[in-house]
Structures are given as C-alpha cells and as structure tokens.
C-alpha cells in the first residue's frame, strides 16, 4: 500500500462565539497559515476535502459557502463529507493511495454557537424511536458513563483526574478555549447537568476550524524534512440502536485494534476525541494507554469544535511527534452518540 504522510496542520483559535466570522472568514485564515508555513498555494494541491455539518449553523449548504474560501480557478478536484474532517482526511488518503492525487488539503469547520447543540444532536438518533424524545447529548453520554462506573471499568476519581489534567494540559495548547484550572473541590461542588455528569465533565460549546495537508511518500519530502506517516488507519461504526449495544464493550474499536495489529504497539503519545470526562479513562483502558501521555493538548474538554475535533486529535498527535523526540502516536476520532463510530490512526515518525 502506498505510504501517506501528514506534512502540515493548522488550527484556528477555538472561540466561544465566532459570530463575527462567516464560514469563509473562519476557514481562510487556517488554510492560508498552512500554505504560508509550507510556502505553497492551492496550485500545489491535487485534491481538497472538507468536513462539516449543515445543521450546526442551520444552513442547508454550509459547505458550499465554505468552499468560497478556497481558490477554485481553475476548478479543483474536491469533495465533502458530512462528518468530522478526520473522515475527510481518510477519503483524501484513499485518493492518494489510488494514485489520483499526490497531495491533499483537508479542512473542517464548525460553529456550535448559533444553534442549540443539545437539540441538534437529538436529531442524530433514530427518527422513529428516539429523536422524538429529544435526548440531549449530555444525557446520552451520561447513560454510558453510568454503565462504565457501575461495572467498575472506570472510577469517579478517574473522571475527576481527566478533568483536572485536561485543564492543566490546556497550557500546552495556544488555541484552547477553556484554560481555567479546576480542583477537586470545585469539581465536586458543581451541579449535575445530567447525572452522573456535571458541567466540568462536558466539553465547551466551541466554534472554529482546522486544516491539514497530507502527501504521498514521494511528495512529502518536498514539503518537509520530517513528514509524519500514517502507519495504520481504521474506522468502524456500531449499531444505531444504543439499546442493543453493550456500552461497556467497544466492539468497533476492538476490531480496529486487531486490524491494525496495535496490541503490542508501544505508543509515545495519544490524542483522543473524548468529549466527556468518562471517555478518557475508558478509552485509555481499551487502548492500553495507562502509561502513555494522553491528550497533552487538553483534548475536547478544553475546546471541542464539532466536525473538527477528530481531525484536531490527529493534528495534535502530529504536532507532538514532530516537535518532540517521539516515534509512535495514536489518534482517535469519533462520531455519534456514546462513541458509536470510531477511527484509530497510528502515526509514525521515521528515524
């Protein structure tokens, strides 16, 4: 299989409300930042792919508006997934592997501030049996948290630790939205939103955008001396019927671990698309990351741009490997309620 590497990544500062910026104004700065860093332009890009969700802003064609941020004269090879931009990266990688492109630009953008994310996420559920009950995203996550706590797969202390560490790690992340430190007392004093989850267990409503450039092995070295290779990548979806899933057994992730032969891989760093505190210890245990530095960026708990946060996990892992003496990184992207659809990306720096 043709090798593909990440050669650049840029992230817009995560905002509580990016109202002053339309789609174009949100996307253009990160794309330009990336082009400037690499000294290239859209003319160097063979394929462009984006990830976004119309319903976040309530616009029927948010991605069409967004495309105006990109130079499209002459017309470009371009596509769009109504998913986290991690999947736009996945599609772009396939394009490179089939030989239709050597380079790809990926971008994602999301504005959760204009709408009510709780209601919007309810509409991801089964439209006959579940959506009409309007279950909010926190309650759905809380149902999984309670299963994990009840089965002693995670502990309340681990959730507190996840929150405290996320806030502490936000200092590593110049784009983090939430940087205020939290201690155990204030955590415990916080009111539950949907028990067992309180506000600290949940990600902030966030607006932002991110962009990434990937390239074939041959082309990658034209951009950088140190490309970070996608050594393995796999994603799986689980049932839409959360009542038929064992919420303490991540069958999709386990299948990906087996597919990628990750059981014995020793990772140096990991970034997980864990939107809620309980997901951090849960996935650390599933992915065997107990002694691996995880979410050094603070992760989604300090900034959670919908449709970007998965790509950001890959981007942050890329940055960690690039700027440190590290070799193997694991990134995780997720979609849907209770970690329904998960992607694992094994990134490697060649010596």
């Amino acid at each position: 299989m043709k090798k593909v590497a990440i050669v650049g990544y840029a992230q817009h500062p995560i905002l509580e409300n990016a109202g002053a910026l339309n789609e174009v104004e949100l996307i253009m700065p990160v794309v330009h930042q990336l082009f400037d860093e690499l000294g290239i332009s859209q003319n160097n890009i063979d394929f462009t792919c984006s990830g976004s969700c119309d319903y976040l802003q309530g616009a029927a064609f948010a991605f069409v508006e967004g495309l105006s941020a990109i130079q499209t004269n002459p017309p470009i090879k371009e596509s769009h997934v109504e998913m986290d931009a991690a999947w736009a990266m996945y599609e772009s990688m396939l394009k490179i592997q089939m030989g239709d492109a050597d380079t790809a630009l990926i971008y994602g953008f999301g504005k959760s501030s204009p709408g009510r994310l709780d209601s919007i996420i309810s509409l991801q559920m089964d439209p006959y049996y579940i959506s009409p009950l309007w279950p909010d995203r926190v309650s759905l996550a809380a149902i999984q948290a309670r299963v994990l706590l009840e089965k002693n797969i995670i502990t309340p202390e681990q959730m507190i630790t996840a929150v405290i560490e996320a806030r502490t790690n936000s200092k590593n992340n110049k784009n983090a939205l939430v940087t205020e430190l939290v201690d155990k007392e204030s955590y415990l004093a916080s009111e539950k939103i949907s028990s067992p989850l309180n506000e600290f267990d949940c990600p902030p409503i966030s607006d932002g955008s991110s962009a990434m450039i990937i390239a074939s092995e041959e082309k990658a070295y034209d951009f950088t001396d140190q490309p970070i290779f996608i050594e393995g990548i796999d994603h799986r979806i689980e049932s839409s019927n959360i009542g038929s899933r064992d919420l303490s057994k991540p069958t999709g992730i386990m299948a990906s671990i087996e597919q990628l032969k990750l059981e014995k891989t020793k990772f140096d760093v990991a970034e997980l698309h864990t939107q809620f505190s309980h997901e951090v210890p849960y996935l650390q245990s599933v992915l065997n990351l107990s002694d691996v530095p995880t979410n050094l960026s603070g992760g989604p708990l300090v900034g959670n741009v919908m449709m970007c946060a998965g790509l950001d996990a890959i981007g942050k892992t890329y940055e960690s490997l690039k700027s440190n003496d590290l070799t193997n990184g694991l990134a995780h992207a997720s979609s849907g309620p209770c970690l329904q659809h998960n992607m694992l990306v094994h990134l490697e720096k060649k010596s």
């Binding site: 064609f61 592997q97 239709d100 509409l123 439209p127 006959y128 069958t251």
Partner: protein, 382 residues
C-alpha cells in the same frame, strides 16, 4: 491503480411518496436488489459508502449514524458524502476509490432521498435573516442560465419540449421510473403551465423518494459475474459566486469530462461513447451538457437534440432510463445515472437497453452548476 468494476446495481421503485417504507426500509430495498444482482453476501462487504443531499430533507442529522443497521454497516467502515446535487455521482466515485486504493476488496454504496418527509424548496433554502425574499426554488435559480443559453445560440423553444417528451417516453420502458405519462407529446408539454419562464411544468423534474445502490469490487474478485469496468472517474468543483464563471458552460464540467475521457482513452466522445446517463433536471440541460461535455461544438447541442441524436436509437442516446426528468430522489439521482450507465454495458437495462452498448458515461452535477462527478464504464477491460 487497482482496477474495479460494478457487479451489482439495485434501485427502488421511484415515486412521489414512498410512504410504504421507512427511511431504513427504502435504502435496504435498493441494497437488497444490488446485492442480489451482484450475488454477494454481507460478509463480502468491506465498507459502506452513503450519500445524500442536505440532511434537512429528512430532518435526520448525519444519517449514517441512524442508518448503520439498515445499510449493514455495523462493524464496518462507513463514510457519508454530501456534495449537493452531484452527491450520487461523487459517492460512486468515492466508493470506487475505496477499492482502487487497495484498502478494500468489495464495497457497498447507497444513496437516497425521501423528499416526501418534507418540502424540497423549504429544505433547500430556508429563509435567513437579512436575505431578501428572492428565492424562487431550484427552477428559478437555473432558468436564467437556460434563457441565456437560448439567447446565445438562438435555440428554438420546441427543443425543451422535445427533451421532455423523449425522456418521458424512455421512462415508459423503465418500470422503476417515477413518472409514467403515456401519450406524452410536444403539445402536451407546451400546454402545461409555465413555472419559471422559459421552463414549463413538464420541462422540470419531479420530486421523488427513492434509493440506488451499487456493489463495486476489485478485478480479482469479479469472477464470472457480469461487470461494468470503471475506465475513468473524476470530480471537479468551482466556487459558487466566482467572478468569471460561465454558468451556462461551467469550466468544472469541461475539465471533469476531459479528465475521464483521458483516463478512458476517449478522444471523440460522440463516436466512442455508446450512450450516456446525464443529469438533466430541466429539459434544456440536455443540449447545454451535450456541449459542455464535448459531444459537439458550442451552439450545436440543440441541433443534436433536434435531429434525435439523443434518442434511444440515436447516435448518442441520453437518459435511456428516463433520467432525472422522470425520477428525482435528489441524493440518489447522480448514482442512478452512474448505475444505469453500468447496467447498459452489462447488457442488463432490459427494455431501455441500447443495443450493443459497450462504453457508457454517467454524470451528475450540483450546487449552482459548480459540482461535477462523472465516470466512464465499459464492458471490457481493454
């Protein structure tokens, strides 16, 4: 590059309201038909690629999550594509890309729209603050480009009626088509009410429910099955409000067609392509696309239509299935073009089969005539 082919195409019956099925039931109907045609079981499917137009049509956000069970994707990779009206075509391209990349052997791809769940004009352009009440629906958007085409090349008005009749007569040979209008003729079309001048009611596509699925596999797994080899595929996009765009003859369409012809080794599409399923949602887009896709010179498209070149027994048959003019489940409409092209070269198009079709083209476009997806399929690999 790994060579790939379509081994199964499955479609639903298209209708204004498929109230007899749920959304899951609708997509499964197409999938069952595709897998039966391909003679594959679920364990052969390595990934599922889903496409549809805006989520607002059905009010389900990111529906691959809800549809995971219905599309048989549980435990597998699934990708959801949305590229506006071209999505059916670009989903086909991305599905084939999964196989051509070498990552997957056999993939299932499905696209759908259940427009009866809401109202298309509402779902496509809800009213936003600060924007004037100018929205006149998709027809209102495209009609000025059509008028400009007519002006530019001095085309007579009966051309639009002629396409409307030809596609609906073809639809009578396709039991799955939404519109079956026996006895349709140019007089009937020209007697229907004007909607968006110069477009009359019967010169416009219907709003349909339906789904289309395909099974695509790599060369080594085709075996003795009937197959449509994918000889070329491409996508192109250009910005909506870009200075210098020619909406009548978009550069993205020209470039996309050239790309697939180059891949397939086609130098004269008019001669070398046996038939084509082209995205024609309004009658006049047939002559416009004939020119844009290089089947003739600029200004000559309406003349080809006028001399019946696009009839099912003509030089370059267009939309033998009845086309978008006869069935339009928006998210699936592009994939129906791709799938019908495959059926033609597999010799499986039944009553609307073009005799001896060996090379066929599938085409989709969307947005403000700015997103394009196309492919060339062939009965032989060489």
């Amino acid at each position: 590059m790994i060579q790939a082919g379509v081994i199964g195409v499955g479609q639903t019956k298209y209708d204004a309201k498929r109230r007899d099925v749920s959304m899951g039931g609708l997509v499964r109907e197409a999938i069952d038909n595709a897998m039966l045609a391909a003679n594959v079981e679920w364990d052969a499917i390595d990934a599922v690629i889903l496409g549809k137009a805006p989520d607002m049509f059905e009010g389900v956000v990111m529906p691959e999550l809800y549809l995971a069970d219905a599309i048989g994707a549980v435990g597998k990779p699934v990708l959801r594509v949305h590229t506006a009206g071209s999505v059916g075509g670009s989903t086909g391209v991305i599905a084939a890309t999964h196989v051509c990349s070498g990552q997957f052997k056999t993939v299932l791809t499905v696209t759908f729209e259940k427009q009866s769940e809401s109202n298309a004009t509402w779902a496509l352009s809800p009213r936003y603050p600060y924007s004037p009440h100018i929205n006149a629906g998709a027809g209102g958007y495209f009609a000025p480009f059509i008028r400009e085409y007519i002006r530019r090349y001095d085309a007579p008005e009966h051309i639009g009626w002629k396409v409307a009749v030809k596609d609906r007569l073809n639809a009578l040979k396709n039991p799955l088509a939404h519109l079956h209008i026996p006895g349709i003729d140019e007089k009937m079309v020209s007697d229907t009410p004007m909607l968006w001048e110069p477009l009359r009611y019967l010169e416009s596509c219907p709003s349909s429910d339906g789904a289309c699925a395909m099974v695509i596999t790599s060369k080594d797994l085709v075996g003795s099955r009937d197959v449509a080899w994918i000889k070329g595929m491409a996508v192109r996009s250009e910005g909506t409000l870009s200075a210098g765009r020619d909406e009548v003859n978009p550069q993205a369409g020209i470039d996309c067609a050239k790309d697939i012809y180059d891949q397939a080794g086609i130098t004269n599409p008019y001669k070398e392509i046996d038939c084509a399923e082209i995205y024609v949602p309004f009658s006049w887009y047939e002559p416009m696309w004939l020119e844009n896709l290089g089947f003739c010179d600029l200004g000559e498209g309406w003349k080809l239509t006028d001399k019946d070149a696009t009839a099912i027994d003509g030089e370059i048959p267009f939309n033998m299935s009845g086309g978008v003019m006869s069935s339009n489940p928006i998210g699936a409409s592009g994939m129906i073009r791709f799938g019908e092209a495959a059926l033609q070269v597999m010799g499986k198009a039944n009553d609307h089969q073009v005799e001896d079709a060996k090379v066929a083209m599938g085409h989709a476009y969307g947005g403000a005539a700015q997103f394009f997806a196309m492919w060339i399929v062939s009965s032989s690999l060489d």
